[in-house]
Amino acid sequence: MSDTKEMKVIEKQAVALPAEQTKPGPVFTPNVDIFETEKAITLLVDMPGVKANELNVDLRDDTLTLTGDVLPNVGAPGEKIYAEYETGRFYRQFSLSEVIVQEKIDAKLSDGVLRLTLPKVEKATPRRIAVQAG
């Protein structure tokens, strides 16, 4: 990964939800990194402006749902005179193929980035069986 790359503006992706919203306002897809190790699946989700109590992580059956609300105009009072980005709710859903140990799920939110660790069930960790010649 080259660290000296210039960053570009990527417009936030607005989503259309399957059901209509009760609250008005746009809904965005947060950017995620997902990686897997032998023990766990980890998600890193960019959710700028979301407070921990406005963040909802829901795992039901195999579906993981992430929802985060951004309160409008926090820290920036007054009238809008120039705008390049919009704020709104973040929403994203994943379907998990691995079996997760629900009790050990760990979620941390710092500087607008959620780190979600989903430990895999022991059985799912690969076991190498040595084949003996005989």
């Binding site: 746009p26 820290g75 705008a83 379907s95 980035v113």
Partner: protein, 152 residues
Amino acid sequence: MIYRTLFGAPSRHFGSSFADVEGMRRQMERLFETYGDRPLARAGAGVFPAVNITEDADAYYVSAELPGVNSADLDLNITANQMTLAGERKILEEAADARYHRREREAGRFSRAVALPGEIDPDNVKARMVDGVLTVTIAKAEKAKPRQIAVQ
């Protein structure tokens, strides 16, 4: 689901034509906002980070979404009529055996100059980083503040 895994673009749900129309309407609105009289500049100069500016009687507020950027990696400078914001977003290396399924978050350097819309007091600037959102509060110059005039 197949669509998601293949193309990694999970932003669209098919099958809800009403929602599609809603999205289209919003995009049209955006288009008109850009060319209408509302001062909205979509994606601005195309320079990261995108900024929003608000004002009240005493100050301008410049905000930018910088999730995961350490405040130590930010360099903020202010002159009489311009603010420059430079920095670097770092994404740490994970465990060596990590296999990535998705990599959408970007890292890299950025540098942006923002022209301020009015006269400011460069000695009275505050910056705060909360939940990945940077807000810079820039006090207006005394003479640029609105003054109430009593009508006799």
